[in-house]
């Protein structure tokens, strides 16, 4: 009864090419992409330590206090040091001779002049810092003019150390590129592995003439065919489980938030693989030439328009109907938003495709003569 399933397993672990494509290749992909994307998540270029010299022209006490409080906040950042200078011409000269990274002139009322240095990345950082300052100062001025009595508490709130006005909450929605690619990689492996695996199965049995022996036996052909479909399970189970487990264990990839969600995701991906396998088994029965020759280019195209290789790719009218895209978006709905409706719909479709393909395949399999 389980002979075919055992054989399906043998076919994976004993054939070096299969072993590579089903076990090693996905793990390698996760590994490569994992390292690559972890690197992409870091900033492109580090900001070198910088010294910013500034001169305060304003005499307004409140404003000077505000500037001091603002600059004080940077004392914790080692990369940036602020140095006050009396003579701004000397500051400009220092920037020009690259002794300082930038020069800031605080003018009256709450104006800021920035003198950039030669490092474009540092210039960007300086601009960002003082854009924030200018907005804040603008807001404070507005409050001072419209509701002066609220000014003290606002200033207190801004500068009162622990967060102040800015509250930072982690809603758990933060996703890395790897979380995206881990899902699309499984989808890719389904469309590369299950398609060829399904089609090659009966094709190779025809080519090696072993199908003749199977068909000559008194075993019921429908029964044989159903077992053959079930025998696709080891491959589909392994290819999905390996990527999920390796990516979680080694790269801490985040799939669904709950155990149930992850189980559902895995079930959907395995069923999708089984449906694809069963569909392509039919191809393996009717093609006269090696099915991989047409499957590979087809799979690449489908995956390409489905945004599997890059989330930027989307062709309206195609992408939203592509099975790979539907599986991916159901997976993201589940992993990112914790919604499982799409996932359940995909599962239902996959089961339907699996059953229909199995029935159609079994009918074809009962035909006489195709094995010889």
């Amino acid at each position: 009864m389980f002979m075919f399933i055992r054989m399906g397993f043998h076919a994976i672990v004993r054939d070096k090419a299969n072993l590579f494509f089903i076990v090693l290749f996905p793990s390698l992909l996760v590994f490569m992409l994992g390292n690559l994307l972890a690197f992409l998540d870091n900033p492109d270029e580090a900001i070198n330590p910088m010294e910013i010299r500034y001169t305060i022209q304003t005499e307004n006490v409140d404003e000077v206090a505000a500037i001091d409080a603002f600059l004080e906040a940077f004392s914790e950042i080692d990369q940036i040091t602020f140095v006050e200078a009396e003579d701004f011409d000397a500051v400009k000269e220092a920037v020009r001779s690259e002794n300082a990274s930038a020069g800031i002139l605080f003018t009256e009322p709450i104006g800021i002049e920035i003198f950039e240095g030669s490092d474009s990345i540092q210039n960007r950082a300086v601009k960002l810092i003082f854009k924030g300052y200018a907005r804040q100062a603008g807001a404070l001025t507005a409050i001072a003019q419209t509701a002066p009595e609220r000014l003290p508490e606002t200033v207190d709130a801004i500068f009162s150390g622990a967060g102040g006005l800015l509250a930072d909450h982690d809603l758990g929605y933060s996703r890395t590129m790897l979380d995206y690619y881990a899902v699309t990689m499984i989808v890719m492996i389904i469309f590369m592995g299950s398609t060829t695996g399904g089609a090659e199965d009966l094709f190779s049995e025809r080519k090696n003439h072993t199908l003749a022996r199977i068909i000559a036996s008194p075993k019921n052909r429908t029964n044989i065919y159903i077992q053959k479909v079930i025998a696709q399970l080891p491959q589909n189970l392994m290819q999905t489980a390996i990527v999920m487990i390796v990516s979680i264990a080694v790269f801490h990839v985040h799939y669904a938030d709950t155990f149930r969600g992850n189980l559902l995701l895995m079930l959907m991906l395995i069923l999708a693989g089984m449906a694809v396998s069963a569909l392509f088994m039919i191809l393996g029965m009717i093609l006269k030439f090696n099915p991989t020759a047409i499957i590979m280019p087809l799979a690449w195209v489908i995956l390409f328009i489905s945004g599997t290789f890059s989330k930027e790719v989307s062709i309206s009218g195609f992408t939203e109907y592509s099975p790979a895209f539907l599986i991916q978006s159901a997976a993201f709905d589940l992993t990112v938003f914790g919604r499982d409706e799409k996932c359940l719909i995909v599962i239902v479709i996959c089961v339907a495709v699996l059953i229909l393909s199995t029935v159609a395949g079994a009918l074809l399999f009962r035909r006489k003569g195709f094995a010889v």
Partner: protein, 323 residues
């Protein structure tokens, strides 16, 4: 002996091609039945129909009393198939292959183990039972191919050219195992286009050509059909001082030989510089033959007489050489 396989008016077409043409024969229980014919004669097609692999256009087939049209599965259970092309899984061991195919016939547990081991023992692969098929030699694969077809102890063993491409030692082993299977009670249908094999082990032989039955019977019966033919081999040389080339001389001699009334068939083997001439037995054709050679200026080295054999029988029946 009772009829074990009965084929009546079997016809199988592939499009316009009639691969098997109104073929009828019976195979008796417990015999080794040989199917002899050149490539493309329809041997495999006939065997594939009997082993239920392919359908047929018309005819009646019964095996062990079961009608193919009604009791196909009962027939399947009786048959052990040894296909023309080695049919085994490359990534499985010898034992796993045999056990897998035997399990398709309902064997399981210790019975399956015993049957698989016995079959491997039988073909002399016991020592290599754990060897991956992909690592086997051609001869070993052929023997494994046989083991996979017989492990379930079928009553009818259908063997399609089981010795193609094997070394002499494996061939001997296969020949003797076929005999052992027969003494174990199995009926065997065996095809080959290698004459000596068929002559050696078959109890009865059917000669087919272009899908049609040319003759059927025991080896002796077949020889009797055409006792009127014998073969004369004449090895000779055309001296180089002749006016015309050797090829022209050979062609002219061949034409002259064909014109002799009792000559049935002539051919020339340039490698051995030998003419092969089939003549009607009893007629004294040798003298006119030798005259032709002398007229052509040939220097005769050797004249050999060969008594009738299956090769000449086949030739006489089909006008074609077997290989």
């Amino acid at each position: 002996m009772t009829d074990f396989v009965n084929v009546e008016n079997l016809t199988k077409k592939y499009g316009d091609l009639i691969a098997v043409d109104n073929l009828s024969f019976t195979v008796k229980e417990g015999e080794i039945f040989g199917f002899l014919g050149p490539n493309g004669a329809g041997k495999s097609t006939t065997l594939n129909v009997i082993s239920t692999l392919i359908g047929y256009d018309s005819g009646n087939i019964t095996v062990c009393g079961y009608d193919m049209a009604k009791d196909e599965r009962k027939i399947k259970a009786l048959i052990g198939l040894v296909p023309q092309d080695v049919a085994v899984y490359e990534n499985m061991s010898a034992y796993e292959n045999v056990a897998f195919f035997a399990s398709l016939y309902g064997l399981s547990g210790t019975a399956l183990k015993a049957a698989a081991n016995e079959a491997l023992e039988f073909v002399g692969l016991s020592e290599h039972r754990k060897l991956r098929t992909s690592k086997m030699s051609g001869g070993m694969k052929r023997r494994l191919n046989i083991a996979c077809g017989i492990a379930h102890k079928p009553k009818l063993i259908v063997m399609d050219e089981p010795t193609v491409g094997v070394d002499a030692q494996s061939r001997e082993h296969i020949m003797s195992s076929i005999r052992t299977l027969r003494s174990g009670g199995a009926t065997i249908i065996y095809t080959s286009h290698y004459m000596p094999e068929v002559q050696e082990i078959c109890d009865r032989i059917a000669i087919i050509d272009k899908g049609r039955l040319a003759a059927i019977g025991t080896k002796e019966e077949l020889l009797e059909i055409i006792t009127d033919v014998k073969t004369i081999y004449i090895t000779c040389e055309f001296p180089p001082d002749q006016k015309e080339s050797t090829e022209l001389s050979v062609d002219r001699v061949l034409d002259d030989l064909k014109a002799v009334p009792d000559v049935r068939y002539v051919s020339f083997d340039p490698d051995e510089s030998r003419f092969k001439i089939d003549v009607t037995l009893g007629s004294d054709a040798v003298t006119p033959l030798l005259r032709i050679f002398m007229d052509a200026g040939a220097r005769i080295h050797e004249v050999q007489n060969e008594e009738p054999n299956l090769e000449t029988t086949f030739l006489a029946l089909t006008g074609r050489e077997l290989r």
